[in-house]
Structure formats: C-alpha cells, structure tokens
C-alpha cells in the first residue's frame, strides 16, 4: 500500500493548460463562422406543438431558423432507444426540449431573434412523480409505449420471501436520493465545419467522439465515414457529456450543413443546466433479513429510478444498480426489482458512479443498522458478510480470477482513521448540540468497465518514426482525467524508451477504430490494455527484423534503457540506430492491436451471470461535526483506500480520488436540482451550489495494488469508485454524531430551536 506522498506529476497536456494555450471547443473560430442558439418552450408536457419562425427569420443578421421539419436525417436518436428528439416535433415531453435553432452572423443577433420564435401547443398535465408514473393506471407519457416503465432488471436468487420469514431480524427501510447536476465547469460547445471534401468536421466538448459521430451522422442522414469528430480538450464530463453533448454537436452540424458555413453552438450555463440529463433520483425500498449472529440471509429490494422524459442510458445505469444492489456482500436469497420509470422531468443518464451511488447509499446504511441491531461493530458485521476470495456474488459469479481485497482495503482505512476508537467516542446525540461528533464508513466493490451492458473493446496504434520518435494513438478519449498520460506512461514502460520520444496523436473518429465510450472507469483499463498488446506486437516486429544484427534469437531480444539489446549487454542498438536499421531493411515499426475485454454473461430473467470480468474494491471513512442549531454538517476528515490493480500515474490517481470524494460530498450534503412541476428552479451556478475549497477537509488517499490478471497492464479504474461511497459514509457518521438515520439525499438536519 502506498500513500499520497508528493511525487512530481506527469501530464502531456499540463503545460498547455497552465498557459491558456489549450484550445477547448469554444476557443475555436473559423472564417465565415456563424453562431447558433437553441430555442426552448415554456411547456413541460404538451401536444400539437406549432412553431412559427417567420418573425425570427426576418431579424437582422439571421441566416436561418431551423425546426424539426428541416432535419434531413433522423429527428430522434439515442444510444439505446431512439426516442430523444434532437428538435421537438409535435409534442413536448420535458422543459429541456429544444424546439428550434436560430443561426445568425453573431451570437447576439441569434439570441435576439430567438425571442421572436412563436411557440404554441396544447398543454397536458405533467407527470413528475416516478412512483405515480409507475402505477398501472398512470397516464402513459411516451407515445407508442404501453406504460411508463423504461426497463425492469431482476435479481432472482434462492427464495428471499421464505428466507426473510425465517430471519431473526428484518430491517425494512426506504431511502431516497435526488437529482444531481454534473456541473462540469465547461458548458457544452460545438463548432462544426463543412469541409470542401463533403465531410462534416466537428470540434466538440464531448466525452465520446464515437457516440457523437453516431448522433451527427443520424441527424444529417449521412454515413459515419463522412463525419469526422476531432479531439479537443474537454472541460469536465463525469458522464454528463455523453448523449447531451452529442446532441449539441448534432445540432451544430445540422446548422452548418443547412447554412453551408462553419457554425458554433456554445451553451450558456443556464441552458446546460436546464437541458442536460442529471443523476437518476432513486426510491429504494429494502427488506434485509439476518440472523442474530450477524449473517445476512436475504434481501428483498424494489428500486425505482426516475428516467425523466427520455430513455438515454437508463437501462444500463439501472442494470449496474441491480448487479450491485447488495453491496460487496454474500447473500443467499435475493429478490430485487429495479425499474427505470419515465416522467416529464428532465431526463437522467450517465453520471460518474452510474447507478451505484444510490444503492450504496441504502446498503451501507443498512449494514450499520444491522450492526446496531445485532450488537456487532460495523466493521465486524461487514467482515462476516463481505465477499472473500472465491466467493459467489449475488449474481452467481465466482470471484476467483483476481485478488478479492475488500477486507484488506477496509481494515487499512479503519486502522488509518482509528475507526473503532473514534466510534466509541462519537456523540450519539449527547453533548454540545452545536458540535456533535461522529465517524462513519462505507465499503463497496465495483464491476470494472462496461460489463454485460455493452460491447467492450478498444484499440491502439503505435507508429514509430525512422528518426526515433514515436506516435501513439488510442481509441480512448481524454476527458481531463489524464487518460493520454496514462497511456504514454504505459507505452514508455513496455517499450523501455525515453518518454520524450512519445507524442500522443489525438485521434479523430476517422483515424482509429471505434474504441467505445470513455465511461465506466474503463479508460485506463481498456486503453492501457490496448497499448500493452500493441507494444507486444511491435516488439515482435522489431525483434524479428533485428535479431540477426543482435546475434540472437528474436525471443531473446530485450527492450530497455532506450535501446534494443541482444542476450549480452554489449549486443546493443540505441533506439535511434534501431529505427535507422529498420528503415534500411524496409520494415515498418508500426503496430495496431485491439484489446477485447474478457467475456461476461447475463441472464435477464434471473439476473444471474458473470456480470463483470473483474472488480475494484473500496472503502472510505469520514469524521463529521454536526450543529443541530444551524443544521450544518462539517466534514472534518476523509480517509479513502482503493484497490485499483496497479497505479499507472500516481498523482493523477490521487486527483481522481480527491475529485470523486468532493463530488460525492456535494451529492451528500449540498446538491439538489430543485424541480417544481418539471421545471428546474435552480438552473444556475448562483442557485445550485457545488463544493468550494473551504467546504472540504484535507483528505488521505491510500492506493492498494493487486495487479489484475484480467487487465494486460494490471490496472483497473478509479473514476467512479472514488465517488460512490462517500454519501453513505457521511450518513453513517451523521448517525454516530446525532443518533438520527439519514435516509434522504442530500442530508438535511432538522434544526432544533435554540
């Protein structure tokens, strides 16, 4: 285990980012570039929409006002269901729907004209409560569907009902989580340029170039090969620049195609917050049964996630919730139902954690409640129930292909923070009501990468130049997390060359095959996996070509110290010399390799299968102080440990942990998208507050490394594990401070009168 000691950080994009030279989407301009803005309606739910653009089109500087009728390709698109209207047609299903686009010579002119677009429609009552929408007699929101259920995932294992009936203790509790905004610091932006060769070139603030390309090609009705998405720095994503950002790119491309000019569409913060999808609010009803010895026998869960008006990735998000609905515990009898339910709220989709923060919030509090009921300590009850090497998960997967380290991870944190001693002196509601103290902890495992929710493969190209320099390109997108740097470091290690030789070539969708989305904390795992395999192939090519010169068999050729060596140390070619020799031999030192994730399996009916090919193990503990007079909860200390397989870039890894904790802390204590009748009431940074530097304590991050055999580089992922258990850790700490169970997010302490 290693701690967060200072070590100079490496990032290939650090210098351009500290000097202001990094060019994000909105920083691009092109000759004759026009500006585009979206037009919204005041409706939340309405039919017979009609949009009168005549007056707007007559305004000064206006080039075109675009509605759904102008779209040459598909109006509706989506990653799973093609239900999301890139411009609204005949009905409005949410307050975030865009009804028209205004394109003008300047942004000011476009904004001015947008006010002149006349919109009329027949309003319908909005359905905004997911539990109401779930009822069989609820009005059906989405035309062409039978009910409001977007998806239903099940886990059926053993016989939960009879097992619960036989349990000594049954805990029955409902938890609720809230809408959360991603609040990436850079609002969505796209600049689209119709190229002379007919290709639409896109510079966008998005997480997934290949997803974006599908949206753009769909709206234009053009083939994938005629859309080229370029990679530019992204000002944060956290899952939030998936379909939402792709749609912004698609709209800008539509405007660019129709006006035959470069077009920029940059979102104002308020539009971003109004329209972009949020984290799913969940209602989680659990019944957990256990014996007096603390062994959990059975869990019954019914979980409802508010999908909002469109499907987006709801089926995938809720699938993860189902797989992980019992936390990292062995439970023989499980009967769980997880539903995504459509409402007229702004839609919900991918957000760092992806369905796990919500179930963890429930499960990790249930474990503390169970500890109390059985008289065990929260650590003991977790130890009794947690998965161990070779154990079977609730989906019937045997954890035998990697190191199951949850015990090591939890014990490390507990010891570091002094959990037992601090728990003993927690206030439990007694003492100074303005300064109650508590400690709390939570653990989890997280299935790595996409699991059975998606096609999981990715590729890399290593293109060595004859002067000794090296171009590396991978089908993973830099979202600010340091993915490119991790891949450069991996290549450096596997080729044994100086880092200075390697230039990361920012790929476009036309230069490398679709590497899948940079989601699910899969960037390092999949991207570095592809780099390792491509490096292997490259070394084989080089070794075969130079074996003679080095006087040894190709298998004996070694790559180290920026040179290529035979069996003896004096049989040696410097890297430069080796490249020159390859040129003379007319051999390309070039390789391409794809990494295919190990197979996973799933049965939709029983919810059984090998859901993920490996797991990341995590524990986080916090200390809080609670003031009952002001209702304020202060985070005093955080200790986190994660087994991520292998640390590729330690300072960046620490940054992911700190950043994930900060976001999770926001969700736990501060953030909630307030809606009223489907309209967001706090769609601005002024009203929606995210954590500031003063809101966070100093954090301690501990990295545990058990290199993972399923990952060619040994590394797994950290982006999401870092965020997904801080809320229950805080809730448990607040309980130890106050004696009150916090079953809603964000945590609100009812003030006591002075």
């Amino acid at each position: 285990m290693t701690t967060g000691k200072r070590e100079s950080a490496y990032r290939n994009d650090a210098v351009i980012k500290v000097t202001g030279r990094a060019r994000y989407a909105d920083d691009h301009t092109f000759p004759r570039m026009a500006h585009c803005v979206p037009v919204y309606s005041d409706f939340v739910h309405a039919e017979n929409l009609s949009v009168d653009t005549r007056e707007a089109a007559r305004q000064d500087g206006v080039l075109k006002v675009i509605t759904a009728a102008d779209i040459p390709g598909a109006v509706r698109f989506g990653q799973i269901e093609r239900d999301y209207p890139m411009l609204a047609e005949d009905r409005i299903l949410s307050h975030g729907d865009v009804v028209a686009l205004v394109v003008a010579e300047t942004r000011e002119a476009a904004l001015e004209a947008a006010r002149q677009v006349r919109i009329s429609a027949d309003p319908l009552p909005p359905l905004i409560d997911p539990e109401e929408a779930f009822r069989p007699d609820a009005p059906v929101i989405r035309p062409g569907t039978k009910n409001n259920i977007v998806n239903h995932h099940k886990i059926r294992r053993g016989d939960a009902r009879s097992a619960l009936a036989a349990c000594d203790i049954v805990i029955d509790h409902t938890f609720r989580t809230s809408f959360v905004e991603h609040a990436y610091l850079e609002p969505e932006s796209a600049v689209c340029v119709p190229r002379p060769d007919g290709v639409m070139e896109v510079y966008g603030s998005m997480q997934h170039p290949f997803t974006t390309r599908r949206f753009v090609a769909a709206i234009l009705g053009e083939p994938l090969a005629r859309v080229e998405i370029r990679t530019v720095p992204v000002g944060g994503g956290f899952g939030g620049k998936d379909d939402t950002a792709a749609v912004v790119c698609a709209r800008a491309a539509l405007a660019a195609r129709l006006c035959d000019r470069p077009v920029k569409l940059t979102y104002a913060r308020q539009w971003s917050m109004r329209e972009s999808y949020k984290r799913h609010p969940y209602v989680l009803h659990y019944r957990m049964g256990l014996n007096r010895d603390g062994r959990v026998q059975a869990v019954e869960a019914r979980i409802i996630a508010d999908a909002g008006a469109y499907c987006s990735t709801t089926p995938w998000v809720t699938w993860r919730s189902a797989v992980q609905c019992c936390g990292p515990y062995r439970v023989e009898h499980v009967h769980a139902d997880v539903y995504g339910v459509a409402t007229n709220n702004v839609f919900t989709g991918a957000f760092r954690g992806f369905g796990s923060p919500q179930v963890n919030f429930a499960v990790e509090q249930l474990m503390d409640m169970a500890a109390e009921k059985t008289g065990l300590s929260p650590l003991e009850i977790r130890r009794i129930n947690m998965v161990t090497q070779g154990a079977e998960t609730i989906t019937g997967q045997l954890l035998n292909n990697h190191t199951v380290s949850i015990r090591e991870v939890m014990d490390t944190v507990a010891e570091k923070i002094g959990y037992e001693e601090k728990r003993a002196r927690s206030s439990r509601g007694k003492g100074d009501p303005e300064n109650l103290y508590g400690v709390g902890l939570a653990i989890c495992y997280r299935g790595a990468s996409l699991g059975a929710e998606g096609m999981d493969f990715c590729s890399a190209v290593i293109n060595c130049q004859f002067d000794g320099s090296i171009l590396l390109e991978v089908g993973i997108h830099e979202n600010g997390q340091g993915a490119e740097s991790a891949m450069i470091l991996t290549l450096q290690e596997h080729l044994g060359v100086d880092r200075g030789r390697i230039t990361y070539r920012q790929p476009s969708t036309s230069s490398i095959p679709d590497g899948g989305p940079t989601v699910a904390s899969r960037g390092t795992l999949m991207g570095c996996g592809a780099v390792v395999l491509a490096a292997k192939k490259l070394k084989k090519i080089i070794a075969e070509a130079l074996a003679d010169t080095l006087g040894c068999a190709p298998e004996k050729v070694r790559f180290q110290d920026d040179a290529i060596l035979g069996e003896a140390d004096d049989q040696r070619l410097s890297w430069d010399e080796a490249m020159r020799q390859l040129f003379l031999k007319r051999v390309y030192p070039y390789s391409f390799a794809g990494f295919r994730a190990p197979a996973v399996t799933w049965d939709e009916e029983t919810g059984q299968g090998d859901a993920y090919f490996t797991y990341v193990y995590s524990c986080q503990a916090v200390e809080v102080s609670v003031n009952l007079k002001t209702g304020r909860v202060r985070l005093l200390n955080v200790v986190a440990a994660h087994d991520i397989g292998k640390a590729v870039n330690r300072p960046m890894l620490l940054g992911q942990i700190y950043g994930g904790i900060a976001q999770g802390m926001g969700m736990a204590l501060m953030e909630k998208v307030e809606t009223e009748g489907g309209v967001i009431r706090n769609a601005s940074f002024r009203k929606y507050r995210i954590p500031k530097a003063m809101d966070l304590p100093e954090m301690t991050a501990l990295i545990i490394e058990n290199p993972d055999p399923t990952s060619p580089s040994g590394a797994k992922g950290i982006g999401e594990p870092a965020l997904e258990i801080i809320a229950p850790a805080i809730a448990n700490a607040v309980y130890h401070a106050t004696g009150r169970r916090m079953d809603r997010l964000p945590i609100r302490i009812e003030k006591e009168d002075a």
Binding site: V18, G20, Y184, G236, R269, F685, A693
Partner: protein, 169 residues
C-alpha cells in the same frame, strides 16, 4: 477611443466594444481564449483576470470600466521567453490539473494571493480560492500547488518582482 493594457501591451478599444464584458472582449475581439467562461454570472471564477493587482471576474466587468487599467490574463503569466511562472510550474508538478478549465482562473487568483502573502497557510489558500470552482480535483492538489509555488517563489527570490506593480514577471 479608450485604451486598455493587457499583458503589458496597449490596445485601442473601439467605442462600440466598450459595452462588452471584458470576458467577451478578451475572447472574441483579441482571441485571448485562455480566460474561460464557466457561468457568465460571476460565480465560478473561471474568467478571473487580474486588474491592477486584484483578481476580478471578467464576465462581470464592462470594458468601459477597465479603460486605462492594467490587466493580466493567463496568457501573460509566463515569462516573455516562454519560461513558466513558478505558480504554473507548481500546478504542473503538484498534479493540480485535470480538465484544466478552472486552471487559468485558479492560477490568477493564486497569483494575486501570493503577491500579497508569500507564506499562506493551507487554510488561507483555501479561503483565497473559495471564489474559484473546480469540479475535478477536490482542490487538494491545487492547494498543494499554491503551497509549492509559494515555496518556489520564496526560495528563488521571486518576491520583489511580483510585488512591485507594473513590473514584468
């Protein structure tokens, strides 16, 4: 026609542009896109520039209001020969950068802080940075960076040069 000094260079401002926000003027008129727009309502701090030594939000300033004043943007922080300022070096070394969208504003706020106090506590750094939002880093390595920058500046005698107004850095 008014005049404005940005990164030690003088610019003549067209009358029609005086009504623009400084942020839009920098980005759209001068192509100085290092200053970022995160909210345009004075909350996030991504648009922070230094006006006569003090950190200001350029989205909330009219060009008119800064005529004749001296402005430093992120593009003017490095030395003329391209050497990084110790604060920039420290941000790189401490791993304080992720998406980088908050970075220019963070660096300029730190610049203003360190011009006044070369020995700030971590608490003081957090306080100074509390008007700059970062969604990626959890702030810890940014605080590390500012501490490291302060040390570098103390060790190399960077003090005097950043303290005297109008001096190039």
């Amino acid at each position: 026609m008014g005049e404005i000094i940005i990164n030690r260079r003088r610019y003549q401002v067209a009358k029609a542009d005086e009504e623009m926000s400084l942020l839009r003027y920098l980005r759209a008129r001068l192509g100085l896109t290092g200053t970022k727009n995160g909210c345009e309502e004075g909350v996030c701090g991504a648009c922070t520039v230094i006006v006569d030594g003090a950190p200001r939000r350029s989205c909330r300033l009219k060009v008119e209001a800064v005529l004749g004043r001296e402005i430093l943007t992120i593009e003017g922080v490095e030395a003329e020969d391209g050497r990084l300022h110790p604060i920039q070096e420290a941000f790189v070394e401490a791993g304080a950068i992720q998406c980088g969208f908050c970075t220019p504003g963070m660096i300029l706020t730190s610049y203003a802080l360190l011009s006044k106090n070369l020995n700030p506590t971590r608490e003081a750094i957090r306080k100074a940075l509390s008007g700059n939002l970062c969604r990626c880093t959890g702030y810890q390595q940014i605080v590390d960076a500012v501490e490291l920058a302060a040390r570098k500046m103390r060790d190399t005698g960077f003090v005097a040069r950043t303290l005297s107004k109008g001096d190039t850095v």
